[in-house]
C-alpha cells in the first residue's frame, strides 16, 4: 500500500505551487484544517485562489484569513464576502474594499453542489437557488417543470485541505458530527487531498467499511495532529 503518512504539516504542503486553487472546509470552527493552513502560511505560496465558506479571521487563531492577510490569496470563492457587522472589518474586507483581492460570492448550497459536481464528473447542473436575484444575472436560465433554474458549473480544486476525526493507513476518513461539513465534497473535488487527523492513524481494516465518509482513493497525504498542534 502506498504510504500516505507524512511526518509534518510542512512536508505535506511542500511544493504546493503559486497560483493553485486550494479548498478549505470548516464551519463554526469544526473541520477547519488550521495546521495545514499554518503550514501553507509558512510555505508562502502566492496568487492562490481559496474556496471556503467565508474568508476567515473569525477568531484569533490561524484560519483562511491568515493567508488572506499575508497576501497569499489572489481570489476567494465563498458564501460571505462582506463584513458580518459594520464594526467587524477583517483584513479580507479591507483588501476587498481596496480591490487588492478578488472574490466570487456563491450561495452556500450552490457552492457545496458545485464541488460535488466536480468530484462526480457532472458537467453542470440546474438549481432554483438564486433565481430572481442579482447573483443569477448573466447566468443561463431554464424553466424546468414550471420552475425557473440557473445553470451552475463544477468547481474543481488543485488541493483540498481536510480536517478529519479518524483515518486509516489507506486514507479512509471519518468525521465527527458537524465537523464533516464541506470536507467530503472538497476531498472529491480536488486533485490532491491533504488531511490533518485528530486521532492516531489506524491500520487499514480498523475502521468499519460502512462508516467511512471519504474513501481512501480520494486521499493523498495525511498528518496526525501532534500534541503541540493547533487543536480547535
Amino acid at each position: 500500500m502506498k504510504n500516505k503518512i507524512y511526518s509534518s504539516f510542512d512536508q505535506a504542503v511542500e511544493g504546493l505551487p503559486d497560483g493553485s486553487t486550494v479548498m478549505f472546509p470548516g464551519f463554526g470552527g469544526g473541520g477547519l484544517p488550521r495546521n495545514l493552513i499554518a503550514a501553507l502560511h509558512r510555505q508562502g505560496a502566492k496568487d492562490l485562489t481559496g474556496v471556503s465558506n467565508n474568508a476567515g479571521a473569525l477568531d484569533d487563531k490561524v484560519d483562511v484569513g491568515t493567508l488572506v492577510e499575508a497576501g497569499q490569496m489572489k481570489k476567494m470563492i465563498c458564501a460571505f464576502t462582506a463584513a458580518t457587522h459594520p464594526s467587524r472589518i477583517t483584513p479580507f474586507v479591507q483588501m476587498y474594499n481596496n480591490d487588492e483581492i478578488d472574490a466570487e460570492l456563491v450561495p452556500q448550497g450552490t457552492l457545496a453542489e458545485r464541488m460535488r459536481a466536480a468530484g462526480a464528473g457532472i458537467g453542470g447542473f440546474y438549481t432554483p437557488s438564486s433565481v430572481g436575484t442579482e447573483l443569477a444575472e448573466g447566468k443561463e436560465h431554464r424553466e424546468i417543470n414550471g420552475r425557473m433554474h440557473v445553470l451552475e458549473h463544477p468547481l474543481f480544486g488543485d488541493y483540498a485541505f481536510i480536517r478529519a476525526w479518524k483515518a486509516d493507513t489507506f486514507g479512509n476518513l471519518q468525521f465527527r458530527l458537524t465537523q464533516r461539513n464541506f470536507n467530503v465534497v472538497m476531498a472529491m473535488a480536488a486533485t490532491v487531498t491533504i488531511v490533518e487527523v485528530e486521532n492516531e492513524i489506524v491500520e487499514a481494516g480498523e475502521l468499519e467499511p460502512d462508516h467511512i465518509h471519504v474513501p481512501g482513493i480520494y486521499v493523498d497525504r495525511m498528518v496526525t495532529i501532534p500534541p503541540d498542534g493547533i487543536w480547535y
Binding site: F27, G29, L58, Y96, G109, T127, S130, V131
Partner: protein
Amino acid sequence: MAEKPKLERQAMCDRLAMEFQDEWIVNLGVGMPTLCSNYVDPSRDIITHSENGVIGYGPLAEEGKEDGHLVNAGGQFVTAQPGMSILHHADSFAVIRGGMVDVTVMGAYEVAGNGDFANWRIPSRKGGGIGGAMDLAACAKRVFIAMEHNTREGGPKLLNRCTLPITAPGVVKLLATDLGLFEITPEGFVLREHAPGWNPEEIQELTEAKLIIPPDLKEFRFRA
C-alpha cells in the same frame, strides 16, 4: 410615540414559533431567528435542521458543556438529541433544495408586499453575506421573517418594492416585527396582530406599504 413600548425580539420569535406544526422540519437562520428555538411548544414535535449538516439537534449547549464538533448554522454550540443525524454539506442542501424544509425563519433588511425580501447585501458595502439564505429562501416550503419594523433611523422596512438586492422573489409568507404580525397575501401585507398599545393607523404611519386591516385583527399573542 417613540417612547411607546414595542415588542421584544424574543416575543417576535415566540410568535413565529407558535405557527410551527407537528413534524415540521424547521431551519432557523443566524441571529434573531435562533431565538425561536428558545420557545417551541413542547407539545409540538418539531425537527430542527441546520444547513451545516445536522438534523434533529437540541437546545444550545450550557457553558462549559460545549462539544467543539457540534454547532448550528450560526456557529453556536448545540446539544445532541436522540435521533439526530449528520449529513455532509452537499447532502444537507439536498434536503433544502429537495423541498424537505417546512419553514425557514430569517432576519431581513427589507420585506416587500409582493413577498420579496432582502437580507444579504447593502449597496454601500462591497460584497455580501449570503450563506445558505438564497438556497433556503428559494426552496423551503415557507419563509418566515423576524425583523424590527423600522430602520435605526426610523425609515420603513415593509416596502412596496425592495430597494436592496433581494434574497428571493415572492417567498415571504409571515413576518413578525416589533409592531405586530403580518401575513403576506397576493394583495400585500395583512396586519394580523398588532402590538399592545398600537393601533393600525399608528403602525401604518411607520410603514411604506399599504397595510390591509382585516375585520378580525387581533392583539399580538404572547407565549403562554
